[in-house]
């Protein structure tokens, strides 16, 4: 659910409060077309019921999840959009029915948090490696000159194997 989702949620919440109805009001007229099972699954795929831990709704074999899918089908027949259906379940059961936390409030942390840490690590590493752009002035010669031709490569390979025999 993006920023738009919040507005929608607010609108639905307001509509519910105003009408006092338990059932949500739909703004679109019922399309009447029975949805295919694939259409139902496409929506259920990104949902989890609160009971069946970590099993996506589209494949969960329990009876309760089957009933949820039936509910989705009914809503689709009534002409609801995917977002409306998600919001409907969120209102009833909380954010946990969605496959990913909605981008709002505290949940922003999950989307930003790792990247802040990773960026910090990357900056540290970049600073370390950036210094290397300046030619190292140390007295230490490069221990293994790059291979310039087949002979060099062969020599290095042999040297490496020998060294392994020695040290390893």
């Amino acid at each position: 659910m993006k920023g738009r989702g919040w507005v929608l949620l607010a609108v639905i919440g307001l509509a519910l409060a105003l009408t006092g109805a338990a059932g949500a009001q739909t703004t679109e007229p019922p399309s009447g077309q029975p949805p295919t099972e694939d259409e139902v699954n496409a929506i259920a795929k990104n949902m989890y019921c609160p009971v069946c831990e970590n099993v996506p709704l589209d494949v969960c074999p329990t009876l309760a999840c089957q009933q949820w899918r039936d509910q989705i089908r009914e809503k689709l027949i009534e002409g609801w959009t995917e977002e409306q259906i998600h919001d409907y379940f969120v209102l009833q059961y909380g954010d946990r029915v969605l496959a990913a936390p909605p981008r709002s409030g505290l949940n922003w942390l999950i989307y930003i948090g790792p990247w802040v840490l990773i960026a910090a690590g990357a900056i540290m590493l970049a600073r370390l490696l950036w210094r290397l752009r300046a030619p190292a002035a140390g007295p230490e010669p490069p221990p293994q000159p790059p291979a310039n031709g087949p002979d060099d490569y062969r020599a290095r390979l042999e040297a490496e194997l020998k060294r392994r025999d020695l040290k390893d």
Binding site: E37, D38, N41, N46, Y48, E53, N54, V55, P56, V59, P61, T62, Q66, G94, D95, R96, V97, L98, A99, A100, P101, P102, G105, L106, N107, L109, I110, G113, P114, L117, I118, G121, A122, L125, L128, L129, L132, R133, A136, G138, E140, P142, P143, Q144, P145, P146, A147, N148, P150, Y153, R154, L157, E158, E160, L161, R164, D165, L166, K167, D168
Partner: protein
Amino acid sequence: MIANVGYGALVITLLTALYGIGAALYGALRGRPRWVDSARNAMLLTFPLLTISALSITALLVANAFEVSYVQAVTSRSMPTYLRITALWGGQPGSLVFWSWLMALFATAVTLRDWRRDREFLPWVIVVSLVTLAFFLILSIGFENPFQRYWATPSGAVITAMFQPQGTTLFVPPDGRGLNPLLRHPGMIIHPPMLYLGFVSLVIPYAFAMAALVTGRTDDRWLRLTRRWTLWAWVFLSLGLILGGRWAYDVLGWGGYWGWDPVEVAALLPWLTATPFLHSAMIQEKRGIFKHWNMLLVILTFEVMIWATFLTRSGVLSSVHAFAQSAIGPLFFAFIIITTVLSLGLLIKRWPELKSEGELRSLLSRESLFLINNLLFIAILIVCIWGVFFPIFTEAAGVIGQIFPGVAHIFTGQKVTVGPIFYESATGPLWAALLFLMGIAPLSAWGSSTARTLGRAVWKPALVATLALGAVFVVAGVRNGVALLALWLCMFVTAVTLYEFYRAAMARSRAHGMNMLVALWQLAGRNRRRYGGYIIHLGVVLMAVGIIGIELFQTETQASLALGESVTLGRYTARYDSLAEFDTNDNRNVARAVITLFKDGVPVGELYPRRDYFYESEQPMTIPGVRSSIEDDFYILLINWQPISTQTATFKLYHNPLVNWLWFGAAIFLLGTFVAAWPEKEPDAVIETRARRAAVQA
């Protein structure tokens, strides 16, 4: 009786471990080798003692001793014997004893090695191993005792206790609850022991690292000594994860192998730190740099492993309340905090002594690229830890909202679900970057490498990969941009790796006038780590191809069919022929459909998707019907049916392109790890012989 023996053995093991810790500390600090020897004997004793304990549980499981609460919780009369035995790790109390038993096994193996050259490490390796073991034993004895029994009070209530409370009689339930049906699968039977083997063997490198820090012998000796341990730990971890994936594919019935379930992710965490450690350890051995970093990684690996052990079995991931209710959670937490503080304290104390012997000299040198590899793995680790803990965090943060109503709308205390979408989008680019590194790192040189030398080595494999990608574009008609990029990376790594094998074998065969195959064999035999590593890389590429196939090209459909009707998905058509529903003698109700499968209109076989319902645990299980080929899998699930008429049934069909490359790649991957980890001749003996020879010549 057997329960008492098992429990007694646990208690004696704990006392032995505590004695061993004391004796090792005293011996090391006061310089009394005999005390260290005594501690070593104590450590050796833990294994037979824990064997008695583990065998006791197994005997109780096999004998249907339902008066023991653990036995009652994980077995039932209808279970076959082999499943009863494996129920040892079917629940938390048994798992913890099993963990301790494996830990004792590894500790014994380490203790039995030749310590003459590393005498000063011995007491500290014993202390670290035994402290870890003692921690797990305390958990088993005090909180998750697998030998507790049921007792009936005169009022008719049933209580659990280890020893008979006054005025009670032993209560024997008529039958047990049975093992979770999902766990009754060969993959699931071997998967936990493999993961646990991986987990416990990670204690060994940590123990040596700590020994190095305590003693101040901070050269890379500890790394060399534990290299193979880490590799074997990694083999077991990888195998455990792969088996878990296979189990999910076969049993969980959602058409996939990895669902980014929090428990799965928790099991992946130690792998995500052990893998970069294996890489960066090579840099320290080669160049004498990154010593601090390696210490940090080995500490992190240990702590993450302890966390993973806890998370995979405790149920805390389902709810933060499970953590608060069980005493085990806070204890694990305390153990992790204490060991982290102590390890970091030691590291800080030795910080100046761990100075690098060399320095990073070039941006494109192999060590720089390894460092970037490390960063990427740690980045994936961060994403995973964040994802696993975030739901617990949002739930727990509700407290803040309760205390400060002003911010209650932010700290709602609502639990959230962090599903595959989050992990896949966050880690996808990181995995891709790792693949790219896997391609260029083998071509870069140690020490220094310039863009020009690297470019000269890279262009040939890059060209081969691009040509191969062109073929995929034209022949296979792949147009998905992400897939094309990912496939290019896979081909690039393959080209580089094969080229590395080729040019090394070529060079040797020319130089020594030997056959190419012989040259290749000798090469792999003499530098097992490098060429084993390359085989692992090839395995990873094949696995990546499988993952690309199923992640980007999986298609699915669902249909309700009457008898004789068909549904088509891509080139496959499935015809619903019949359905039978029956009870089995192991307390299952099975509904099994017969499907005739056609590919391009030609019949290719019958599939039998089924739904097993377990009466004891009231749990359904969906077993797919699968037709596998190198090209793809056709995977069909029985979702629903009319119980009375069985005339119509609902099926879910998946087409999983290339998924078998994943399993095939996993086999190559494991082959590579075996090549890399296979014992070589004792390295010290080689050094000594060479030194002697050199002295004689001089």
